[in-house]
Every structure is written in C-alpha cells, then in structure tokens.
C-alpha cells in the first residue's frame, strides 16, 4: 500500500500527466484491447504498457506480480475449456481422445492476452495516479458525485476494516494453544465476519454524521485543481495516433 502511494508521486512520465487525459486514453486502449482479434496487436499493446511502466519508474517485478497473480485465477477457468471444445484443425492429439485445436489454442491465448492487457492498463493507471486525482477525473467525466464519494470512502475505510480484522485474528492467536478443527475455524470466521459487519455499519453511521456536521447536504463538492499542460496534449496526440494505427491493424 505504501509502495503504491510512493509510486503515484515518483518522477515518471505517467505521473506527470493530468489524470483526465490519462484516464480517457487508457480507457481508449482498453476498448481497443477488447476489439483486437490479432495476437500481434495485443502483443504490441503489452509492449507499449511495459515501456510506459518502465518510463514511469514502476518496478517490473512488482508490476508483473500484481497482474499475473490474477490471470490464472480469473481467466484460466474460462480459457482452458476453450482449448478442447473449440472445433477446428487438430494441434495436439492426446491418444485420439483429447484434442487441442489450433482455433481453440488461439481463442484461449487471445482471451488471456486481452485480460492481461486490460488488467495491465488498469493497474498501471492506478499505480501512477493518486486515488484522489483519479476520483476528481471521474467526477470531471460526470460520474455522479455520490458514486465518487462512495469510491473514495471505500478506499479510505477498507484499510481501517482490514486493520480491525487483522487485530481480531491476532487477538485470537494470542489466546490460542494448539489448533482448531475446520468446523471451529469456520464458526469463528462467521462470527468475525458478523462482528466486522456490525462495526462497519456503526462506522458508516458515524462517518455520515461527521460529514453532515461539516456541511454535507446530499451532494459532495470537491476542489477541482486539475490543469491540462503541453505535455498532456502531446500524450493525448501520441495516444490517439497509436490508437488509430492499432485500429487500422485490427481492420486489416
């Protein structure tokens, strides 16, 4: 978490950009990723992402770890069946019973690459943009202020609740000798979840009162201190030209 905060303020190329320009161009690249049918196009986008992360001083290992952790969990479950059920030219024949087709392999790799690129773009955006600036950018794009406020508070309080939950685990461990059965663990976990939920509800009521006490009346007003500079226009121009080339490549 602390590393993430530090990266947002590192003297990298993406950190210097206005979040509105960055957000809009990253969304554009995510859309292109979704449209791409060619692995080459997706490989070029990935190369661009890695180059940008390098220029933004994001450590490669840290960056890849954050992305690759999710790929097997969320994508493999969907991609692996495609290897076997997609009809087409056989690529690997396992004793004539299990056949992986060329089209199946292409579909699976395409899916994994799309997720890899989209996730990388999202992670790179978050790593190089302070959360508050990202929220202001979302507000600028007319996302309702209430939604922006909820996003901001979720981010703020998730760490507090995480800390509370962690303390509960430590308190349990400090009073524990030996080990518990699976059933006992599940029972304790259910109680811990219920307690955390009750605490979060109380916290949300108190936070609401704290907001009202400082003038909140149903709409959150935030300070817009963003400004587009020359380098932002250069970035947007570069991103648009790259996007057009990629779209041209998709239609070839």
């Amino acid at each position: 978490m602390v590393v993430t905060e530090e990266l947002c303020y590192a003297p990298g190329i993406l950190q210097k950009l206005d979040p509105r320009g960055k957000l809009s161009t990253f969304v554009l690249f995510i859309v292109i990723t979704g449209l791409a049918q060619s692995l080459w196009i997706l490989a070029i986008i990935l190369a661009l992402i890695l180059a940008l992360s390098f220029l933004s001083r994001v450590p490669l290992g840290f960056f890849l770890k954050r992305i690759l952790l999710f790929i097997p969990i969320f994508t493999a479950v969907i991609a692996i069946p495609a290897l076997f059920i997609t009809p087409g030219k056989p690529l690997i024949d396992l004793a004539g019973k299990i056949i992986i087709t060329e089209q199946g392999a292409h579909t699976a790799v395409l899916l994994v690459m799309r997720v890899l690129d989209s996730l990388s773009l999202g992670v790179l955006l978050i790593l190089t943009t302070p959360w508050t600036k990202l929220l202001v950018a979302l507000r600028w794009f007319h996302l309702p202020s209430l939604v922006v406020a909820i996003l901001g508070m979720t981010y703020r309080y998730i760490f507090l609740l995480l800390h509370t939950t962690n303390s509960m685990f430590l308190a349990r461990r400090s009073r524990t000798i030996g080990s518990f059965s699976g059933g006992e663990n599940r029972r304790w976990l259910a109680q811990a979840l219920a307690t955390t939920m009750a605490k979060s509800q109380h916290l949300s009521e108190e936070v609401y009162l704290a907001m009202v006490a400082r003038g909140y009346r149903g709409e959150v007003f935030i300070l817009d201190e963003l400004s587009l500079r020359r380098r932002d226009f250069l970035w947007i121009t570069f991103a648009l030209i790259t996007a057009l080339i990629l779209l041209w490549g998709i239609h070839l």
């Binding site: 905060e5 508050t132 507000r139 703020r156 003038g215 007003f221 935030i222 817009d224």
Partner: protein, 290 residues
Amino acid sequence: MDNVCFNHRINLVVGNPFMNTLDTEHIFQVKNLSYDYPGNIVALRKINFTIGPGELVALVGANGSGKSTILKLLDGLIFPTDGELTAFGQVLSEKVLKDGYFVADFRRRVGLVFQDPDVQLFSSTVWDEVTFGPLQLEISKDEVVSRGLEVLQLMNIAHLKERPPYLLSDGEKKKVSLASVLSLHPQVLLLDEPTAGLDPQSQGNLIDFLLQWADKGKCLVFSTQDLDTVEEVASRVIVLGTEHTVLADGKPEEFLFDPDFLLGANLIHVHAHRHKELTHRHPHLHGHQH
C-alpha cells in the same frame, strides 16, 4: 466542476428569514431535554443549561453518562426525544435543519470534532479533509484554498498536506481533525474528548492552542474525563451523573476540590497506588488533593 460548485452560491444573510431572529445573547438553550437511543436506551434525562458567547464549557461525566450525545445534539446531528434545544434562538429540529439557509449558516457557526479521528477523517488526503467543510458550504474556491492553507499552517501540518489520513500517527490525526473543522471558521467549537489518546506533549500543545483560540472571544464546549484539562481550559463545568442528569453546573473551582462530590460522580476513585516505597489506598485526584 467550477460551474457545479460555485456558480450558485447562496447569499446566507440577505433573504434568510432565520437570520432576522438570531439570538446573540444565548448560543444554546437546553430545556428539559431527554434523549433515548433506539431500544429505549436512556442517554439523557431532563437536562437544562444555557451556554452564552465566549464561554469555555467542560462536559464532565463517567463513561456512558451522555457527554457525546449532548455534543451531537448541540450540533444538530440528532434531535431530542423530549424537551427543547435552541441554537441562536432557533429551535433545532429536523425540519429547521432541512432549510438550506439556516443549515448552511449553522454549520458555519458551529463545528464538531468527533472523538474518533477515523470517523472525522473520511477523505483521501489531508488537503481534501481541510477543504471539505468550506466546499460543502459553497464558499468561493479562492477562499477555500486560502482557509485550507491557513489551518495547515496554524496546526503545523503543512507537510502532511498530500498524505492519506490512514498513514498518520494518532497525534497527527487529532491535529488534522481539528484543522478540518477550524477551516469552517466556527464561532462555537464542540470537541469530544479532545485530549484522549494523546501523549503528554501533544495534550499540552492542544491545550495551548485551544486557549489561544478561545482568547478571540469564541465559545468552546468539550467533553472530557481529564480533570487536569478541565482546570486548565474551562471557565465552567457541567457535570453529568450516571443517571444521565446534570449533577452540577458552575465554575470549576466549585467542584474540582470536592472529593466527596467527585467520588459520587465517578470522576475520581479509591484505588491502591504507589508513592516510592509506600503503597496505599485513598481517593485519587492527580494535580489536586492527594
């Protein structure tokens, strides 16, 4: 954003029907006020007091005596179950606090600092915290920035401006909590246990600051169990009993040196403690009788 925020500023004085009837003699008048939490849990029973401009009032009482509840009532966040509470001569009710003119003016005049900084600090950075209040009251953008910078300097926390609140120490969180309310430029400051959880130096700094702030003729109402803070800051004490009623209301010196009264109000205690080689038991009141 600018258009959304600032183009429809409210003129809070001209055309405000409530402003014509403002009572400047009394800030708060509490008459036979009772408050129950859901489930008929008694918090306060038939309490009465009046608070005027420039008073430094300490709300003192044992745990659960209703101190925090009074502060929330005075700030118009919750409303009496029975009895009446007026602020600047206007009865505080849900209906009145839905009036845009009155609520904006009331929130400018009265600021509440919650006991738990994690409740008070809900924004993503310290800068967002100190500008939140003025922005909600639709004060001009330049003024918001000016006030934000002013309170950061005042509380010596300018170096924390871009930091997220969850990465701050407890002492820093308290300072930011106070700064987030001071940026409203309130006439009345309500503080819930301001010195709780602070180290002795931070407590001393906070007391220094509160006394300087109050020197400008402003009104301070704070809850505490720390009798040293009461003696150093308050010009008046309201003592709440375990029966959720007002036990006493007067100058600090009338109560702080009366061990029998303090024992009865659960504010001091008889317990064993050490004096060098001697361990003994008696009513224990640091800084006063011993």
